[in-house]
Point group: C2
Chain length 355, copies 2
């Protein structure tokens, strides 16, 4: 789907909205064919593939439940892009058709004036055949999705939106560390971020067993690494930490039981648990997490693995605020920068839904 | 179903084999209408309701997966009834028809010569309409089920089979403590033993929420009690400990994830975890537990809550052998008695399936 403004290949998926499903006898393979236009400084590029960074032109559409969207929420906060790039929030549950703006008054996004995110995909491509996913960036004047390619999206926030970063914004993707960040991001994506989905949506025992082994082998290796250093790469928070965090913060709430990632809870992996708490307690991380929406999303939407759609009351979340003592490893969360200000009033996680 | 040799009331259940299922919009209510003849010293009683205790006449049919059957396996071992009451083992999984003897050569119980436990129920009552449950005691000469009423069954092992107890058998149901044991058994049954099923098979959110709150409120109260004393009643192991143990030992393996009992893992409840380990490490308890069969049973049989039938690889079981330090609370596991001998060679849990 590399050519803008033409219809994408309708071949490989069935057009249903699914962030995953069980196909009996098959391993889970994520459809990674996204609308991948980029928003760059100055825009341009061959065949109009890139759009120019402009304050107020685009709207980031997310759902707090979704780990891929959570990345974008965190990076936008850390960099202070709220004023340049507004954000619309879909509700935690959706039908097979689309994520929807059911949290907004009247069930309509107040800027895009649409009830379903799908409408912005259809504006881009009539008959869009793939999953209606978050995060997505919509061009407000045309109402069309520019990109839902979550991988480059947050890197572009760091490197292309730089003119709109707040004072004191951290460098989450520093030039001299990019190779190392890219490398660890790749294995974290395969074994951890998507690894939990490969456990949960495995269609046969062997696929599950393999994904489970890869997941915990990788978590053990990450635990070794993080036993020696406060952050994954260098001595400050980077994009790699954001990406690992969004899976760890969901681990006990949904992946452990719902996705059968149950060798250990996060709370039983001491290094990773302290690392996750450290980030959670850092402004810009924990204040983006809505555990209520996370649990509602996974347990209600995935009928094929939870037919009763009952949402568990656990786990106990009180531990997230316990001291982590990771300062002892040194490191400076924001490097030469500073923590972000508190969330905008309109973007706060509702009381009682965080930890 | 109080009259032997006549057909039971066929009214209330559908005749399907289910140790539970989700009925949308309804709380889970266990069918507790069992074949409740008893085996007593001398037998007799009105209308031939009781059968006489005799060595070699009866066969106890169990499945290691089932917590209700696990009680009977443990009590039989603690009391040393192996020589008087033989035991047949059904496999961990079954279809909607019956528990089966698929672990035995040829798929037939070597004593009863039947492939399905249902056959012994049908010998008792043609067209038996209720669940084919374990534990069940079968009269070997007639091949008919005498009782599947698991509550009185283990109490009768203690009080009626006394002539066949081993030397050094503990008194699991001492006369002066029966009122207290009965009282705690009642609340443990409702809130814990059956409480986990009420969570797992809840057909609506409110039924689940209520069962969850009752379960963890009760576990917290039991934890308080067991923080002060080594065993539930008195200073030795009693029937009450057997009944709590069979739920606790399954907690992290199946109830936490599969039944959504996920406020805390057992390993996160320090007193109950130490108490469970203490019992697990006591001869007659842990040596009856087959975690592989437990997980296979719950995850494969309950298709309505695990349609993929994939069996989780977790949890890590290595903690069951860690020191519990409960000796510091005093108490004598077997009172004036002694621990049982190791299991019969034919009744050992296969290597790699315990902990």
């Amino acid at each position: 789907m590399r050519t803008a403004a033409t219809s994408p290949d309708p071949g490989s998926t069935d057009g249903e909205l699914a962030d995953g499903q069980v196909t009996t006898g098959q391993e889970f393979v994520r459809d990674t064919d996204y609308i991948d236009n980029r928003i760059t400084r100055g825009g341009g590029g061959p065949a109009g593939e890139t759009f120019p960074v402009e304050a107020g032109r685009y709207r980031l559409i997310v759902a707090r439940a979704c780990p891929w969207a959570n990345r974008a929420i965190i990076v936008r906060r850390l960099l202070g892009l709220e004023g340049a790039l507004s954000m619309g929030l879909c509700g935690p549950t959706h039908d097979s058709d689309s994520w929807t703006f059911d949290l907004d008054p009247g069930g309509v996004d107040p800027v895009l004036k649409i009830p379903r995110l799908k409408d912005a995909y259809l504006t881009r491509y009539r008959g869009y055949p793939r999953g209606i996913t978050v995060p997505a960036i919509v061009d407000i004047p045309t109402g069309a999705v520019i990109t839902n390619d979550f991988g480059p999206m947050t890197l572009d926030f760091s490197t292309e939106w730089i003119d709109f970063h707040r004072d004191g914004a951290p460098d989450l993707y520093p030039g001299h560390l990019r190779a190392e960040i890219d490398e660890i991001n790749d294995v974290i994506f395969t074994d951890v971020n998507n690894g939990v989905y490969r456990c949960g949506f495995a269609g046969d025992q062997k696929s599950y067993d393999d994904a489970f082994d890869r997941l915990f082998t990788r978590l053990d290796a990450l635990s070794d690494r993080l036993g020696r250093q406060r952050y994954l790469v260098g001595d400050t928070i980077t994009e790699a930490d954001v990406r690992l965090f969004t899976t760890l913060v969901r681990f006990d709430a949904v992946y452990h039981g719902h996705f059968k990632c149950n060798r250990s809870t996060l709370t039983d992996m001491p290094v990773l648990w302290a690392y996750a708490r450290d980030l959670f307690q850092t402004p810009g991380f924990g204040d983006t997490v809505d555990f209520t929406q996370i649990k509602q999303h996974y347990y209600i939407v995935h009928r094929d693995i939870n037919p009763s759609r009952i949402v568990p009351r656990g786990p106990d979340l009180s531990g997230w605020r316990i001291a982590h003592h990771r300062e002892q490893l040194g490191g400076r969360p924001f490097g030469e920068g500073t923590p972000p200000a508190p969330p905008l009033d309109t973007e706060r996680v509702p009381a009682g839904q965080g930890a």
